[in-house]
């Protein structure tokens, strides 16, 4: 039977026009037999009449039809329905995506395939949107009424760090919330509203890492506006959110102001600084209302800002202004700001950062006050020193040299003779008292006891008092006690003996007083240096950086030594020197480096001890160039002394560089420092790219390293790097 006849009969019986979708019948070769109205619309065929066309002509890729037919045949052979297929069609030069579902029409007798019956749906827009859904860089999602994830796109999967949609689709959306308790809260918001736009939500990636997203979500309404689910988008705003939080949390106020001086925006720190409740209440405020004296300050400020801008769009940095908060609190702030200009160079406002420096200003004022107080202390010390001089003149001839420090050993040996003479005088009286009743009755028993005790002490005080520092106070007290007893002498004691005893006691007391005077002078000398150094540190360290100047290293060392030469001489310390830095210059803050070197030299002088029978103590100051490796060269100023140990722990743990630190062994050598010197020196060195290195080892070879009851050789080295243009240069370069 004619195949086309069979197909036309099929079409007639089937009544294609009753179908709500496009439908057609074609021969196996693709010739149209019949097409319903809907299919004619999709394929832009004439609305009625015979169709002289072949369906193959509509395929964008004609070979695709053969593949589809093969697939249908295979499916039918396997007993499966062929399924829906989306095909690219070209309809009058316009691309269309059509979804088709086809079945073969067979000859009822031979079962031969004679034609194809197909359904057509134009899914062009659906496909476009589907692809959009899939390829948008924005995460898109669809949830049902129970918050189950129905569908997500690739971007959603990627944003949350998953590998495939299947890991998410079917899961409850709360599993991707950083705080799952928030999921129902968000859902409830949508139940009440139609949409939530641009909301920041914290989700969690597959790895557990938190992520901030901006969410747009739209309710899917059910019957009577009930909640059937939601759909929406997410965009990863983690970086922006972190930045926003950082800006909010830094203790610096940021702001933007328009040309009418209205505040457009600011961060939380700004709002807090000016005593506003929140950022919202700052927006729209007039910035000049925040100036303490706008008439005085604003014009100057704007002049400076414009000047900086004209110099090359530079910001104005470090400008101090006095402000007044909303609550009337005044404070000083450092303003860093820049003009905002558009493409044409026209200004539309300014933006910047403001930092409350009231504390710093107060600190600076305090520092200046402390500096003045220390200056007063310095003056007082000098006055004290001068006041002691007439006192000494009253005490009588001074056997000690005022120009040098009195060593404790020298002080004690100066007491030998007066102590001996007193003891002899006392001994004579005590002897006679045992043989003469009249003499014995000249004093009470208690007073005789006192005299006996003093005689005993005077005979061998160096044995009885193992600590040299206590001998002076003991002998002073002894002399006082003897003089007091002398006042109690009744008749019976030969006048000359009494006078002699008193005279000898007074002489011992006088020598002790002179020793105390010299010790006081010594303490004043040291205090004066410490107070001056402290004043330098407090005032000059904190000031804005001094100008860097090129100086000869030798000259800096020389000035530092000169500053301390008086003290060194007084303390009988010889300063030995060895320099191998001729011609080497450094670019430094001169005053700071001199101060740094002076600290090192002062410590060396102060903590030095006499070595054996040597009369003088000594320190050695050396300067040299050191190459640590091929790339690192240093100019070094080193000071070495023989004296008080510094323990390994104090060096290894850098305790000696801590503010106010006093060395473990500095005290029992009767020398106490302020604990500023090394800290300051290192700060100065490091500011110049260098450092300070300290080492301390027993002076005697073979002695135990951790036996600190012996003198040590201590070296402190200030090193500065030799780098081109860094600061240290050879004069010859």
């Amino acid at each position: 039977m004619d195949k086309k006849y069979l197909l036309r009969s099929f079409a007639k019986n089937f009544n294609l026009n009753k179908l709500p979708i496009g439908a057609y019948i074609v021969t196996k070769e693709g010739e149209f037999i019949e097409c319903n109205t809907e299919a004619r619309k999709i394929l832009k065929l004439p609305s009625s009449g015979e169709i002289k066309a072949n369906i193959k002509d509509f395929y964008s890729d004609p070979s695709e039809r053969d593949k589809i037919l093969k697939k249908i045949e295979d499916n039918e052979n396997d007993g499966f329905s062929p399924g829906k297929i989306v095909i690219n069609f070209n309809v009058k030069n316009s691309e269309k995506r059509v979804q088709t579902h086809c079945r073969f029409i067979r000859d009822p007798d031979s079962n031969e395939i004679i034609g194809v019956f197909g359904c057509l749906v134009d899914v062009t827009w659906e496909m476009i949107f589907s692809e959009l859904f899939e390829f948008l860089p924005v995460g898109v999602y669809l949830l049902d009424e129970n918050d189950k994830i129905i569908r997500v796109n690739d971007a959603f999967v990627k944003i949350l760090g998953y590998k495939s949609k299947s890991e998410l689709e079917g899961e409850n959306v709360s599993t991707i919330y950083e705080n799952p308790d928030y999921a129902p809260v968000f859902r409830n918001r949508l139940i009440n509203k139609k949409a939530v736009i641009n909301d920041k939500v914290e989700l969690k990636k597959k790895s557990g890492e938190p992520i901030f997203v901006s969410v747009n979500s739209y309710k899917i309404p059910g019957k009577g506006q009930s909640y059937k689910g939601r759909r929406g988008t997410i965009v990863d705003v983690t970086a922006e959110e972190n930045y926003r939080r950082l800006l909010s949390s830094i203790p610096v106020g940021t702001y933007m102001v328009d040309n009418e001086n209205k505040i457009i925006d600011c961060n939380e720190s700004f709002a807090k600084m000016f005593d506003y409740d929140d950022i919202k209440s700052v927006r729209g405020e007039f910035v000049l209302d925040l100036y303490d004296d706008p008439y005085k300050d604003y014009d100057n400020f704007m002049k400076e800002l414009k000047k900086k801008h004209d110099e090359g769009a530079n910001p104005l940095v470090g400008y101090n202004l006095k402000f007044k908060s909303k609550k009337g609190r005044t404070f000083v702030a450092e303003v860093n700001t820049r003009l905002l200009v558009d493409k044409e160079g026209k200004s539309y406002g300014r933006a910047g950062a403001v930092r409350d420096i009231s504390g710093e200003v107060a600190l600076r004022d305090l520092r200046d006050d402390i500096g003045k107080t220390l200056h007063t202390y310095s003056s007082n010390l000098i006055m004290l020193q001068h006041s002691l001089v007439p006192l000494v003149e009253v005490i009588g001839p001074d056997p000690f040299d005022k120009k040098t420090f009195l060593e404790i050993e020298d002080a004690i040996s100066a007491l030998d003779d007066p102590a001996k003479h007193l003891e002899k005088s006392l001994a004579r009286i005590l002897e006679i008292s045992t043989t003469s009743t009249e003499m014995f009755n000249a004093l009470s028993v208690d007073n005789w006891d006192v005299l006996h005790i003093q005689r005993d002490l005077l005979t061998n005080y160096e044995e009885q008092i193992p600590y040299p520092e206590f001998i002076i106070s003991a002998l002073t007290d002894s002399a006082k006690k003897i003089i007091a007893v002398c006042k109690s002498f009744e008749k019976g004691l030969p006048r000359e003996m009494e006078k002699d005893l008193k005279r000898k006691a007074k002489e011992l007391g006088r020598i002790c007083s002179l020793i105390t005077y010299h010790q006081a002078l010594d303490a004043i000398q040291e205090m004066e240096f410490e107070v001056r150094a402290l004043r330098e540190y407090v005032i000059f360290r904190q000031r804005a950086s001094e100008k860097l100047e090129i100086c000869r290293i030798e000259s800096l060392v020389s000035i530092s030594i000169h500053n301390l030469s008086g003290l060194a001489k007084y303390r009988n310390v010889e300063i030995k020197q060895s320099h191998k830095t001729s011609g080497i210059k450094v670019k430094v803050e001169e005053r700071s480096l001199i101060r740094a070197l002076s600290h090192l030299f002062f410590n060396a002088i102060k903590y030095s001890l006499r070595r054996g029978d040597e009369e003088q103590r000594w320190i050695i100051i050396r300067s040299y160039i050191e190459d640590t490796d091929i790339n690192n060269r240093w100019v070094c100023v080193e000071v070495e002394n023989y004296g008080v140990p510094i323990t390994k722990e104090e060096i290894d743990k850098e305790l000696i560089f801590q503010f106010g630190y006093r060395g473990d062994y500095s005290g029992n050598r009767r020398k106490v420092g302020t604990g500023i010197g090394l800290m300051d020196t290192r700060e100065v060195a490091r500011k110049l790219g260098g450092d300070v290195v300290v080492s301390s080892h027993p002076a005697d070879d073979g002695a135990k390293e951790d036996d600190y009851d012996q003198p040590f050789l201590t070296k402190a080295v200030l090193k500065l790097p030799v780098k081109p243009n860094h600061g240290v240069q050879n004069e010859k370069n």
């Binding site: 005790i453 003093q454 005993d456 002490l457 005080y461 009885q464 008092i465 600590y467 520092e469 206590f470 002076i472 106070s473 003991a474 002998l475 002073t476 007290d477 002894s478 006690k481 323990t647 722990e649 106010g660 630190y661 006093r662 473990d664 005290g667 029992n668 009767r670 106490v672 600190y708």
Partner: protein
Amino acid sequence: MKKIKVLWIEDGAFVEVSKLTGPLYTSGKYNLVIALNASDGIKAIKKNEFDVVIVDIRIPPGSDPAWKGVVARSRTDKIQTRLGLNLLYSLLKPDLVKEKITLTGIPEWVSMHPERFGVLTVEDERDIVEDLEKLGLPEESFTRKKSKMPVTALLDLIERIVQLKEKSTSAGG
């Protein structure tokens, strides 16, 4: 007459308060031993029996890592840490000490004779009265260091402690 053995734990003994020692020597009654820090103080106590021990409150730790550790943990400098108080607690009331240091080899006389201990310090009595009570130290065993204190201040304190000790001995304590 046997001299009374006194241990004075005081870091300023050779500098700031050396004058206080004169009257001790001229009295002829005392043998004085100095320790400049907590470590040396404990060493001296382990080595000798003392009739009187005078402790300064603000003392440095010395070389013993255990005392240095207390300073490090307190995050203040070694003079602010009041190690002298810690030392007294460690010796007399170890259960009450906050920063525990386990002291070993402490002789029996220490726990048997707490009345031998006294405090000479810059602290105001009001600031440490509670600690003195907890340590069982009476008012007489405390003297405050002041700029105008008499040169006999240390001697007076020692003599008061000796009297307390004699009272305690005669009472059978």
